[in-house]
């Protein structure tokens, strides 16, 4: 796996995070600092990944072997998994 692919998978995980944290959740304040204009772009990025034939599995193995937190494991997966 190349550095570019690894970066892409990290971006995908980040995109999922941003989609949840910036676009959803309870709103109690009228003052929200963050614009979510980029959310559409994030969706488009997910489309690109889903249409490719690669999976996240290799990136995940790398992260785990590099000592990443266990909670990262299985957080984002593309089905079906290539074996």
């Amino acid at each position: 796996m190349t550095t570019g692919e690894l970066e892409r998978d990290e971006r995908l995980i980040l995109s999922e995070l941003l989609n949840h944290v910036l676009d959803k959740g309870v709103v109690v304040s009228g003052e929200i600092t963050i614009s979510v204009a980029d959310i559409d772009l994030l969706h488009a990025g997910v489309s690109l990944v889903l249409s490719s034939t690669e999976t996240l599995d290799e990136a995940r193995r790398r992260r785990v072997s590099a000592g990443a937190r266990a909670s990262d494991d299985d957080h984002v997966s593309v089905l079906p998994r290539d074996t």
Binding site: V26, V28, H43, S77
Partner: protein, 222 residues
């Protein structure tokens, strides 16, 4: 109650502010911290939400909300605390799982904003045909999304307590559905989706989670 060692955006300790039947987890943040938001701040927000998940499923707040002081926060929450307590009841013992599927075919073209979208030299009749073609593409995509949505719903069946379909713009080509899944059913949920894509070899799904119930934090009728 937040763990004494838990810190929020910018490293300030997270503390509890009780308001009627609910408790808000907050941390003090300097004026300039949110001026230039970045991914690390978003991760810090989600980390606090995840810490809360360890004891009880919270209603996660959307990122970036600030109040002048605790009194301003109490004022904003007071009128809503009963509704939020009902929300907490709704998500109790559950997590959010999100599934995205790619829709097939070309994206429906964006809504025309200006005549600049139309190729130069287009006649009135060509323009109307072009408009109709766009409408048909969008309609086909909507039907495909509805069809796929129904099949995903059947695949996960009784494993989910509630679902929320995101209203993604037609141009993005993805169907996004979030499910509220009991914590002890997450493995079964993943298994059900895995079996589903094995039966549907042309499909690719992106499954993420468990998340705090971001998509179920507001009342369903909001």
């Amino acid at each position: 109650m937040p763990d004494p060692g838990l810190s929020g955006l910018g490293g300030a300790p997270v503390r509890a502010v009780p308001v009627g039947p609910v408790t808000a987890w907050v941390s003090d943040v300097a004026d300039d911290v949110l001026r230039e938001p970045n991914a690390d701040l978003v991760r810090a927000h989600d980390a606090v939400v995840r810490a809360a998940m360890e004891s009880e499923t919270p209603l996660p707040a959307r990122f970036g909300q600030t109040f002048f002081d605790d009194a301003a926060l109490r004022g904003a929450l007071t009128g809503r605390s009963a509704g939020l307590a009902r929300g907490l009841q709704r998500v109790r013992g559950a997590v959010e799982m999100t599934v995205r599927a790619l829709l097939e075919g070309p994206a429906a073209p964006a809504r025309p904003r200006a005549s600049g979208d139309v190729p130069p030299g287009t006649s009135g009749r060509q323009y109307l045909e072009w408009l109709r073609g766009r409408e048909q593409a969008a309609e086909a995509r909507r039907r495909q999304a509805d069809f796929l949505h129904a099949r995903v719903a059947r695949a996960v069946g009784e494993l989910v307590r509630a679902e929320a379909r995101a209203s993604a713009p037609a141009s993005t080509q993805t169907l996004t559905i979030s499910h509220l899944v009991p914590r002890d059913a997450v493995a079964q949920y993943r298994g059900a989706l895995g079996a589903f894509v094995e039966r549907e070899p042309h499909l690719r799904l992106l499954v993420s989670g468990p998340w705090a119930p971001y998509s179920f934090a507001e009342p369903p009728d909001a």
